[in-house]
């Protein structure tokens, strides 16, 4: 068994090495006709860009992706700089007519995204030409290796039951050197994915055939991400199934998040695209889905006929009816731990790191300020977006809606939700985003705290203050602080993962949807002392 596990680890690392190595393979250059087609498709009016791109990338040289990217970006900058100079010149000459004409020649868009588009058309080599083999050596070996590493735990972990042995003695799970390496890898991955997609164009080739078979389109970086997300979740869900095989709540919950990720977040949207419908994830509720009310989305939905309208109505109903009603009956866990994709990754890939979330009072204070600020931010931004949409003006109170949207997209959508949210798993625990950043979690939390039947019940006076519950709470709740007082845990941040109940060695905690009355039960004296004592306390 141990041998299988070790072989699995080596296989996985081999797959990972190939995966990383793939970035550096292949060559990128275009033929003149290919470039011409591209420019025509794009409808560039600049006269310079064609020359510049021809000089840069129509070549026999075997450019690697980094050279290719820098050349492309240079070409765009040269072109844009040229027109910027003209604009400045006409501006100083007060030749407004000529100045105005120059703007149409400027090319907008993120340089690395344009570079990605060009690279995607031009790549040759290992990943682009032998996709099947390349997929096997990267994804394939990774999956096989990971499963070989995980599955022997059925036997190695011993009898079913909570087995957290050695978690704080391992460099993987105790912020040791492996944890830090994982952190660096994940952060780098997200930075590349969000900001330098052209650098990982070779990875995108790996999933091209899958993308074509689903939506009919070649893959982009977000398809790659979606596929990788589902793969990682599936493999790590196997780990969850084995680790918590004695616990039906965990098994059902894992199955549920896996189902919603694969079907709702991945397959349905891709299939919608195949039928020429808008890409839409039916479970992704506003304000987590922060661009739902952005102009481009509303316009796209309105242009898609009855189906677009249905999505529009569903999105609104989901947020203002389904979410609060479900939270009232089941707590926010129905979403955060049973449906949400972010939660899904946190509960599968992130499970080995859950014990690293900080439980200090300080982090609780920070958490409340930050998460509610994000909620306010998203609401203000949405207000701007809707105002802009209905009035057709581009700014509110002198602030451009687009600017606000860009800031949110960069700071919250990319940096917080992606780079920090997942990248920081190994160091700050697996729910950094859900805990500190997610505006939907903040909204669900309000309902859960003030109007819900959900609570974690403390079993009378049975708590021994051992601290397993607090240690393994991914949301950083000091569960023990309540349990040792005999109080139910009613907190807005609780996502109802149920691990506190699972790790409790005394059967003290139970996730429950009970009557609202008596849900919050501050206790003076714990159960166990004679009732007389309580009377005395009450008389005081």
């Amino acid at each position: 068994m141990k041998l299988i596990k070790q072989t699995g680890l080596i296989t996985f690392l081999l797959g990972l090495t190939f995966f990383i190595g793939t970035i550096f393979t292949g060559s990128f250059n275009l033929t003149q006709p290919e470039l011409d087609t591209f420019i025509k498709e794009k409808g560039y009016k600049s006269e310079i860009i064609k020359d510049e791109l021809s000089k840069a990338i129509v070549t026999d040289e075997a450019l690697n992706i980094f050279q290719f990217s820098s050349r492309v970006i240079n070409a765009y900058e040269t072109s844009n700089n040229h027109y910027d100079a003209l604009i400045a010149k006409y501006d100083s000459e007060k030749n407004w007519d000529a100045k105005g004409k120059q703007f149409q020649y400027k090319i907008s868009g993120k340089p690395h995204s344009i570079s990605f588009e060009l690279a995607k058309k031009s790549g040759k080599g290992f990943a682009a030409d032998n996709t099947g083999w390349a997929w096997f050596l990267t994804f394939g070996l990774g999956i096989i290796g990971a499963l070989m590493f995980i599955v022997p735990d059925i036997i190695l972990l011993g009898k079913p039951g909570i087995k957290n042995d050695g978690i704080f003695l391992s460099a993987v799970t105790n912020r040791g050197w492996i944890g830090w390496f994982t952190f660096i890898f994940l952060v780098t991955f997200y930075i590349l994915l969000y900001f330098y997609p052209d650098f990982i164009v070779n990875w995108v080739y790996l999933v091209d055939p899958i993308s074509k078979s689903l939506s009919g389109n070649p893959s982009g970086q977000w398809f790659l991400y979606g596929f990788l997300y589902c793969t990682v979740m599936t493999v790590m869900a196997v780990r969850m199934y084995i680790k918590y095989r004695h616990n039906k709540y965990q098994i059902l919950r894992t199955t549920s998040v896996l189902f919603f990720q694969i079907v709702f977040a991945f397959l349905i949207p891709e299939i919608l695209v195949r039928f020429q419908m808008p890409w839409y994830d039916f479970k992704n509720a506003f304000p987590l889905d922060y661009d739902f009310f952005f102009r481009w989305n509303l316009e796209e939905l309105l242009a898609s006929g009855a189906f677009g309208l249905f999505i529009l109505v569903w999105g609104v109903v989901l947020t203002i009816v389904v979410v609060p009603v479900m939270v009232y009956f089941f707590g926010k866990r129905w979403y955060c731990s049973w449906v949400c994709g972010c939660g899904g990754l946190a509960e599968t890939l992130g499970d080995p790191y859950r014990q690293n979330s900080s439980k200090t009072l300080l982090s609780w204070r920070v958490e409340r300020i930050v998460i509610h600020s994000v909620l306010v931010f998203v609401l203000v931004m949405t207000g701007f977006a809707l105002y802009t949409f209905f009035t057709q003006e581009s700014q509110v109170l002198g602030i451009k809606t687009q600017t606000i949207q860009d800031i949110y997209g960069f700071l919250i959508g990319a940096i917080f939700a992606g780079v920090i949210g997942t990248g920081f798993y190994p160091i700050f625990g697996n729910r950094v985003w859900c805990r500190f950043g997610c505006p939907l979690a903040a909204y669900l939390g309000f309902v859960q705290r003030f109007k819900s039947r959900f609570r974690i019940t403390t079993n009378g006076g049975q708590c021994i203050s051992c601290g397993n519950c607090s240690t393994y709470c991914e949301q950083g709740i000091d569960v023990r602080a309540y349990a040792q007082k005999g109080e139910n845990i009613v907190r807005s941040s609780c996502v109802g993962c149920g691990i506190c109940s699972a790790v409790c060695p005394r059967g003290v905690l139970k996730l429950e949807n009970g009557p609202e009355e008596g849900r919050i039960n501050p206790t003076e004296i714990l159960l166990g002392n004679d009732v007389d004592l309580m009377d005395l306390m009450n008389k005081k």
Binding site: T360, G460, I464, G467, Q484, G514, G528
Partner: protein, 448 residues
């Protein structure tokens, strides 16, 4: 404002301190030689097993004590001077008090076995025991085998700890079945099996004769009394129960028995000196309880009670219905009310027992043969709701009532398989009754 000094920062002492602070403005000092900050003793095992770090066992952050004006003093009390109302420390320091709370807990029993103090022997009670274990048994290369002597809760926890690092364990138990002085035979047998399934070499009806030393004064092997067999080992865990940790009080004039003698108000024979927790000994037992109860929960309750007295609300220690819990490797155990083992069974006591055919789950309900009054329940592998049993015991419900409403008492996580129907069916069959299981009702549960 008086100066309240508490010796011992375990659950009893700290609970007392917290409740005194809640209800008064007294000056409070907690004295401990073991650690500076309070930690949960019951969680020490998880530190060795790597489930937690030591800091996770501390229920309060380190700033808590200063913020709540509870002074912490590290030091070992050599003597209590009751006349001068002063503590003398081993390093010569002194500390005066207006009232003193003795909450020094227990130490591991040693029964005069030859070699019991050799290097490599340890109990599993203090933080220092954990440090010793890390020293002598960090892995199965340093420690080829460990022997545990004494078949109680601490013994099985120590066995679990060592097994988590793949160290072979021989477990010597004096009784012919694990903990059968406390557990009914059905439960005890199930635990025996479970211990063996975890590759622990369980030796029942086996006593320790002596511990042998190598040339460096370290444990080399042990000899078994019955067979004379020698078992080579590097660590010997002595877990045959605990006794009150009160040696330093011998010349203080405080009346001692096995523990510090206290009345129902937890007062000793000296005014303004009290004892709580494991080290307190009641003059007369309360109900069916023992005079000394080395149980986490009772320590906590005594702390709560004494804090009332100290804050001017003189309160007797009157523990409610007995309850306890433990975990035997993967099997959780809870008990409410009294279920005595066959050995200690009362004359009027009858059992109803149910066991799952394959899983490690079973229950024993004890009831009065004549009146059918429900006396207590042991559950293994099934969680039960404390409030519900507490209420049923107070209201003297019958065993039939308990079975009829058993669904109200289940506390297992959602979606877990429920067994109430099978349990009730078995009871009906054995007792010729026709009890119909009622569906769980929040109304009943919350009408407490």
């Amino acid at each position: 404002m008086e100066h309240i000094v508490i010796i011992g920062n375990g659950i009893s002492g700290v609970t007392a301190a917290r409740h005194i602070r809640k209800n008064s403005d007294h000056k409070i000092t907690i004295v401990s030689a073991e650690t500076k900050y309070f930690f949960s003793r019951t969680a020490l095992m998880y530190v060795y097993m790597g489930h937690m770090k030591f800091e996770h066992t501390q229920p309060y952050e380190n700033w808590f004590w200063e913020k709540n004006r509870i002074s912490l003093k590290e030091g070992f009390v050599a003597k209590v001077n009751t006349d001068k109302k002063q503590l003398d420390f081993t390093n010569g320091e002194t500390l005066s008090f207006d009232r003193l709370i003795i909450a020094t807990g227990s130490k591991s029993n040693k029964f005069g076995w030859p070699g019991q103090d050799l290097e490599g022997t340890l109990g599993m009670y203090h933080k220092q025991d954990l440090e010793k274990l890390e020293k002598y048994a960090p892995d199965n290369k340093t420690c080829n085998r460990a022997v545990i002597v004494g078949g109680g809760l601490i013994g099985i926890e120590l066995a679990e700890m060592l097994r988590s690092r793949k160290i072979p364990v021989t477990f010597l138990v004096r009784e012919d079945s694990f903990w059968n002085g406390v557990l009914p035979a059905q439960e005890s047998a199930m635990i025996n099996e479970h211990i063996k399934e975890h590759h622990i070499d369980l030796r029942l009806s086996t006593n320790l004769k002596e511990i042998k030393s190598d040339e460096n004064g370290r444990v080399k092997s042990i000899i078994i009394e019955e067979t004379g067999e020698e078992i080579p080992c590097n660590v010997v865990g002595l877990t045959a129960g605990v006794t009150p940790n009160i040696d330093f009080l011998k010349e203080s004039g405080i009346k001692l028995g096995r523990g510090v003698k206290v009345n129902r108000f937890l007062e000793t024979n000296i005014p303004n000196i009290y004892a709580i927790g494991d080290c307190a000994e009641q003059h007369e037992a309360i109900g069916q309880r023992r005079n000394i109860e080395a149980v986490w929960y009772t320590g906590r309750m005594m702390g709560e009670t004494l804090a009332q007295t100290i804050c001017g609300n003189k309160t007797a220690y009157k523990p409610g219905h007995w309850f306890n819990s433990a975990k035997f490797l993967d099997i959780e155990y809870q008990t409410y009310g009294w279920v005595f083992s066959e050995r200690g069974k009362q004359e009027n006591e009858a059992y109803f027992q149910w066991q799952h055919p394959t899983d490690n789950k079973c229950i024993t309900i004890s009831f009065d043969k004549n009146t059918k009054k429900f006396l207590g329940i042991n559950t293994f592998g099934i969680r039960m709701r404390h409030e519900v049993f507490d209420k049923w015991l107070t209201e003297n419900k019958s065993v039939e009532y308990v079975l009829e409403f058993l669904a109200d008492a289940n506390f297992d996580p959602e979606f877990f398989k429920l067994h109430e129907a099978e349990i009730v069916a078995k009871f009906n069959q054995e007792n010729n009754t026709n009890i119909q299981l009622k569906k769980k009702s929040w109304k009943r549960i919350f009408s407490i």
